[in-house]
């Protein structure tokens, strides 16, 4: 189910936005793709028919262990007695055949956990799709042996968030996940080693919007913090630092300059870093602002 549309703008590397009919670059406005095929169900319309007018099922998806291609035996209230019981037995047997191997059962379990994580963290649907695809490749490479499925489910979500530029901190993931920090680390390390995840250092700016809304900061302060973060990046001063800490420090500095009441402790807490980590970047920012 891969589309031929690239993930970033071929001209300027900008972020792409897809709506119903076009995929456009949010930076330069280049129309990357148009007249996309609607993968949704085809339907006919009858004037006076109570039957379902859809002729096909939902599109293929990688977020189901069978790609969403399974058939189900439905319920009907027209059947009675012996026939009804027979259909019920068939339904049960049919459900049992849907999972054929231990690996497939693990996949079902991991996919439900991924789905739960995605909904818990309010992540977009495409992240779920990619997470499931990543889990499948990890399973294909035999990475699961000796490591926990829950850990992998958390790790694939974490990795996908990073590659999709909607990073979450590890703590945010483990708070929502069934796995522990150690399990996530083990799974992530294994995938990073064997699959070569395309993750670079996290841009602190990805955290700004979320932290700002958690701290109830107004738009201008978030904007100001973004400028700080951009300046740090241009000077290369954010390398080797905890990106969450850098984001919190930028927000703290911006709030201080904007006369907004915010303590170092509060700002550090949303990023789950110590105030000391925050202070390091803060001092650096202040030095630049004054000097």
């Amino acid at each position: 189910m891969t589309t031929t549309v690239p993930r970033s703008c071929p001209e300027c590397e900008g972020r792409l936005r897809a709506d119903d009919c076009e995929t456009i670059c949010t930076q330069c406005g280049l129309v990357v793709d148009e007249h996309a095929i609607d993968p949704g169900p085809e339907w006919r319309s009858f004037d006076d028919d109570d039957a379902n007018p859809e002729r096909t099922g939902a599109p293929l998806t990688r977020s189901r262990h069978d790609k969403g291609l399974s058939t189900e035996i439905g319920h009907s209230n027209r059947l009675t007695g012996r026939k009804r019981r027979r259909v019920a037995r068939m339904r049960r047997q049919h459900k049992r055949t849907q999972i054929r191997s231990k690996a497939e059962r693990n996949r079902v379990y991991a996919f439900t956990e991924i789905r739960r994580l995605i909904s818990r963290l309010d992540l977009p649907e495409h992240v779920r799709e990619q997470s499931c695809a990543l889990f499948e490749s990890a399973q294909k490479e035999n990475l699961l042996q000796g490591r926990s499925i829950e850990g992998f489910a958390a790790a694939v979500v974490y990795a996908t968030c990073r590659t999709a530029s909607v990073s979450r901190t590890v703590t945010e993931i483990t708070d929502a996940a069934k796995s522990t920090r150690a399990e996530l680390d083990a799974a992530y390390d294994a995938m990073n080693r064997e699959l070569g995840l395309p993750t670079g250092p996290i841009d602190p700016r990805e955290f700004l919007a979320r932290f700002a809304s958690k701290l109830d900061l107004p738009q201008e302060i978030e904007q100001r913090a973004r400028e700080f973060a951009t300046a740090l990046r241009e000077r290369g001063e954010d390398t080797g630092r905890n990106p969450g800490g850098v984001a919190a420090a930028c927000l703290y500095t911006a709030a201080k300059h904007g006369g907004h009441d915010l303590t170092q402790r509060e700002a550090a807490d949303v990023a789950d870093v110590t105030p000391v980590t925050l202070r390091n970047t803060y001092k650096r920012l202040e030095r630049h602002a004054s000097g």
Binding site: D19, D20, D48, D50, Y109, T112, R115, R116, I118, S119, R120, L121, D122, L123, P124, E150, V166, R168, A176, A177, K178, E206, L208, A209, R210, A212, S213
Partner: protein
Amino acid sequence: MNIEDKRNISREYFSRERLAEHHFRSFNAFLDRGMQEVVDEKATIETDIGDKEGEEPVYVELGDVRIVTPRVREADGSEELLYPQEARLRNITYSAPVFMEMAVIKGGDEEEEVVVDQTETKIGRMPIMVGSNKCNIADFTREELIDIGEDPADPGGYFIVNGSERVLMTSEDLAPNKILAETDTKYGDTIEVAKTFSQRRGYRALVLCERTRDGLLEVSFPSVSGSVNFVTLVRALGLESDEEIVHRVSDDPEIVKFMLENLEAADVQTTEEAIESLGKRVASGQGKNYQLKRANYVIDRYLLPHLHEEGVDEEDVRINKAYYLCRMAEACFELALGRREPDDKDHYANKRLKVSGDLMRDLFRTALNKLARDVKYQLERANMRNRQLSVSTVVRSDVLTERLEHPIATGNWVGGRSGVSQLVDRTDYMGVLSHLRRLRSPLSRSQPHFEARDLHATQWGRICPSETPEGPNCGLVKNFAQAMELSQNVEDEQELKQELAQMGVEGIPGIESVEQPADD
């Protein structure tokens, strides 16, 4: 009153808030108490943990639900208030997060019950009606509305799902919990039937009491195939002696004669015998103990469920059920003797309207059940894998969200009804107003149903006599009359009963609590 005054009154009457008033009142009542009532009905989620040897049982206790106003979560994780216009433009759903108190409780068998984890957690998102109490634009002034791009003249009363405006069609159903007597034909003979749609907590059961051609009464209700002898059933419910049964049905000499025929033909004399004979019907070929258990279960669960009440013990409920069946029998006999006319199904006293709040309640109930099943599964799974049991890791909020949004988006409601939600008709302003005040009969439009399509005298002042579509839907789709007022369900039935008693309504003699089994 002079014409000028009349004009002023009607102008006031049709101010902006009044046009979709019935939708607001119904949906607000659902938000304020309906949701909590549905959760309280459910109360706990039981699990199969603890079935094994040496394992303590685990269950989840459901507490208070809380709903905030609509907000949107962006991909970067920030959350902000959502306004209807933004939802329309961005093709997203105008919905608000719902939170619920949940507690995982372990123990009870040998060890003491301990609360393993207790938190308020987000269980999903509920689509919010534009203009309702939980809507972000609820108390905005005209200027504020214009500022955020909203039409100040818009009546509201609809939902926004995936950017499209959907209105829930009011449906016109036959009144539940009411005895309707009518004639029917069976094997070429005319027979008299008393019907009741007994409804409680979303469970609907049709109970029929028939007078067959040989004058014998038979009752049929769900979970029993065919029908049960009236006297047997009444005796099983605890109304034992001949005299009492006859007396409860009627004192009319002719009806007494009919009843005596029935009693003569009865093949059981005591309550025990009656339950045994019922057991043979509901679980034939099973062990005796199981038959009795099953018979008792069926009586308490499937027969006239609307007579159950909080705080009334089973014994009293059973006797009330017996009295209710006697009322149905009386209706049959009276119809047979020509003492009464068959009830008119098209009479507006025998109709109830299901407005958006009632529909959302049905939806929320099934969605919550689905969520509960998922929580049960997740808990059992987590327990099997020796994980720490915690509230936040077993709740999948997308389960509830999906179950609430999908029916509104497609119109395929729970219980197999389709076309319940419709795209708001924005052809012109009048189109919107008319659409919000439209109601639909659930009868099939492909059948004639001439009586149901006719204008009924009792629609006066309630339903517009002229606005109905031409063609197959003629007379089945109706519109509210201009000054129609829709009354609502009472909040507290106990209070209502006390009030009625004070006004001089008498209960059935012989029952201590003021119970009036007839009507609802």
